[in-house]
């Protein structure tokens, strides 16, 4: 069997706030094979973002193991984790997180700025890659615009371009449509679907069934534990949307 791209075992995350101990994750098990598109759902405070940050190597679990593409990454130091984020992961945030002083193109180029082992010729190559990524999200005509000259949907497209510009192994998104209206949400989701169809593994946190319906699989969390893990068509609330739209085989 092919090695899964993500495999976590017994992942816990404990936060200490003053004397209070918060068990955000209490032993999560999850395996994601390459090429899947997975929705992570659950009530507010159930640990979705915490799990996503851990999977995105933005944070380290308190305990448990995390194999990313077969490599144990839960005990890497800050610099090594930065390299993993740079090379293997593309992250899309709810609030876009574009740098206001940079143009769309420069924002997309940002991850490539921190690529290792490159020399002077990299500048041109980098620009070409960023242009290509912007082209994939349909923003070729907005490359020199600054974030404040873009709509919410366009900003999120730039953020997606930035996430995929390095050709990461996984594209992760924490409520990518949380700040968008329904029409724009639909546009962004079809963009994710398009990227997924091209072979990209996608993980997405969402509250909305319509959004989850774009995914093949739904993982539900409750109180820091996996409550259910089913194909989206079999999920009790997402299923009807899948069938209604006839999406996700």
């Amino acid at each position: 069997m092919v090695e899964p791209i993500i495999q976590i075992r017994g992942v816990t995350k404990i936060y200490h706030v003053g004397v209070e101990v918060i068990n955000a994750l209490r032993g999560v098990e999850l395996t994601v094979p390459e090429g899947e598109m997975v929705a992570i759902m659950g009530a507010s405070g159930s640990g979705k973002s915490t799990l996503m940050n851990t999977l995105g190597c933005l944070d380290r679990p308190t305990a448990g193991t995390y194999h990313l593409g077969g490599r144990e990454v839960s005990n890497l130091d800050a610099a090594a984790l930065a390299q993993v984020r740079n090379e293997e992961i593309g992250f899309v945030f709810q609030s876009f997180e574009l740098l206001a002083r940079l143009t769309a193109l420069q924002n997309v180029e940002l991850p490539l700025l921190y690529s290792r082992g490159k020399s002077w010729g990299w500048a041109r190559e980098r620009r070409r890659m960023a242009e290509e990524a912007l082209d994939r999200v349909g923003l070729s005509d907005r490359m020199d615009h600054r974030p404040n000259q873009l709509s919410g949907g366009q900003k999120q497209r730039v953020a997606i371009a930035r996430a995929i510009v390095t050709n990461p192994r996984i594209l992760m998104a924490d409520e990518p449509t949380g700040n968008l209206d329904s029409v724009t949400t639909e546009e962004i989701l079809s963009l994710f679907s398009k990227i997924h169809t091209a072979g990209q593994t996608v993980l997405m946190v969402t509250h909305e069934n319509e959004v989850a319906a774009h995914c093949q699989r739904v993982v539900r969390l409750r109180d820091g534990l996996v409550l259910s893990d089913t194909p989206s068509s079999e999920d009790p609330t997402v299923g009807p949307f899948v069938r209604a739209h006839g999406r996700a085989a």
């Binding site: 940050n53 800050a78 700025l113 921190y114 082992g117």
Partner: protein, 413 residues
């Protein structure tokens, strides 16, 4: 591990950041600008002065020697009373007769006396007793009339010379030869006018009225054991050393000092004065260095403050950069380069202001600063110091930025 592009781009980013916050950057770098500018200016002026003074010394003084009385160091006063160590005119005569390496020698003694012409009486005029060789040792020429002759000295003739300021102040005719002056109650015939020197930087600037009389008449106006010094000039600068040891030998013989006895006098050549001047100059440079140290410290604290502000303003940006793969080192370098760039920009402005100041003062007439200019080493040092301040004071904010947790940084408002 980081590509060369990264450094280049960090500097470009830093320059953009500085440009985007122009006013703030200027205010922040002000300490450094002022520090570097003032030090550069001081060093420029001092360098100019030094060049000027040294070249004056070289042209006029390389062959010059000074003899001064001197009590041997660490010796009790009663063993070497003043009568024993003071110079005497007879010693000058002996030196003049016995030192073959000398072109000329003059004893010099100064006092101030009342001087009266037909039109004017002045109190406290500088009166100097000299020999004819004085013109050679001081390089000051007679512009009207004649210098003293040996007969004037030997026979203690009551003749005198004045400088042109004395001509003016005593309201003498422009060519006062043949006029008489009452100096300290004695009547003197004016035989010559000596040029007044205001331009030269030989240590003794003539800026007031002066009267010169034959040295042999000086004892009429002085105490019994009055102070005098000798100024001699060697045949050539090359013979200055030889002249020095010759004079030393002759004086020791006259004074009956046996080989174990210490000198009771000092023979100094101009190079010792040059050394003294150089040590004064480097003292001033050191003080200027101290000033720059303080202002760079103040400037550095300003830099640290603004970098801390910058780090906290850009916490989210740092979080994002980390999220897309910036290592702690990359963030550290980015902020450090920003601090260094800011400091170097300040240093550059400071050097330019200092340079402008140097050009400004070099045009002030009579200030002896026409050679003022910022030496290359000072420019280099200014930049090194600025960069150093950037590194030292930028380090703490940069470390702070590099240690930010990406998730927490991204949550920052």
């Amino acid at each position: 591990m980081l590509n060369p592009l990264f450094y280049y781009e960090s500097v470009v980013l830093a320059l953009r950041q500085i440009w985007a916050n122009k006013m703030r950057s200027i205010l922040t770098a002000l300490g450094i600008i002022v520090g570097v500018a003032s030090t550069t200016a001081v060093i420029a002026a001092l360098t100019g002065l030094k060049t000027k003074v040294l070249s004056e010394f070289e042209t006029f003084g390389a062959a010059r020697l000074y003899v001064l009385p001197s009590r041997p160091e660490g010796m009790p006063r009663n063993l070497f009373p003043w009568e024993k160590i003071r110079l005497k005119a007879t010693e000058a005569i002996a030196l003049k007769e016995q030192c073959t390496a000398l072109k000329g020698i003059t004893p010099i003694s100064e006092t101030s006396l009342s001087v009266q012409s037909e039109a004017e009486t002045l109190e406290g005029v500088s009166v100097t007793g000299i020999w004819p060789a004085w013109h050679a040792t001081e390089n000051r020429q007679v512009i009207h009339g004649r210098p003293f002759s040996q007969q004037d000295i030997d026979n203690a003739r009551q003749v005198c010379m004045v400088n042109d300021l004395a001509v003016r102040d005593l309201q003498l005719p422009l060519e006062p030869i043949g006029e008489h002056l009452i100096i300290g109650g004695r009547r003197f015939l004016i035989v010559g006018v000596v040029e007044t020197i205001t331009e030269r930087m030989t240590g003794f600037n003539t800026i007031s009225a002066e009267v010169f009389i034959p040295f042999s008449l000086m004892e009429k106006f002085q105490d019994r054991d009055f102070f005098m010094r000798f100024v001699a000039i060697a045949n050539s600068p090359a013979e200055a050393d030889e002249a020095r040891s010759e004079m030393s030998r002759v004086l020791r013989k006259i004074r009956g000092l046996s080989s174990g006895d210490p000198d009771t006098f000092r023979v100094q050549a101009i190079d010792q004065f040059i050394d003294q001047f150089k040590s004064v100059a480097s003292g001033i440079t050191a003080v200027a260095g101290g000033i720059v140290g303080i202002s760079l410290l103040v400037g550095g604290i300003g830099i640290m403050n603004i970098m801390l502000v910058s780090v906290s303003e850009r916490t989210r940006e740092i979080g994002l950069r980390k999220a897309v793969g910036a290592t702690p080192t990359a963030i550290l370098l980015q902020f450090l380069l920003e601090a260094v760039t800011l400091c170097l920009a300040g240093g550059l402005v400071g050097v330019l202001i200092g340079q402008a100041f140097a050009i400004g003062v070099s045009h002030i007439p009579g200030a002896n600063l026409d050679q003022a200019g910022v030496p290359a080493w000072a420019v280099l040092l200014a930049f090194l110091f600025s960069a150093g301040v950037g590194v030292v004071f930028g380090m703490f904010p940069a470390i702070k930025a590099s240690r930010l947790d990406p998730i927490e940084a991204l949550r920052h408002e």
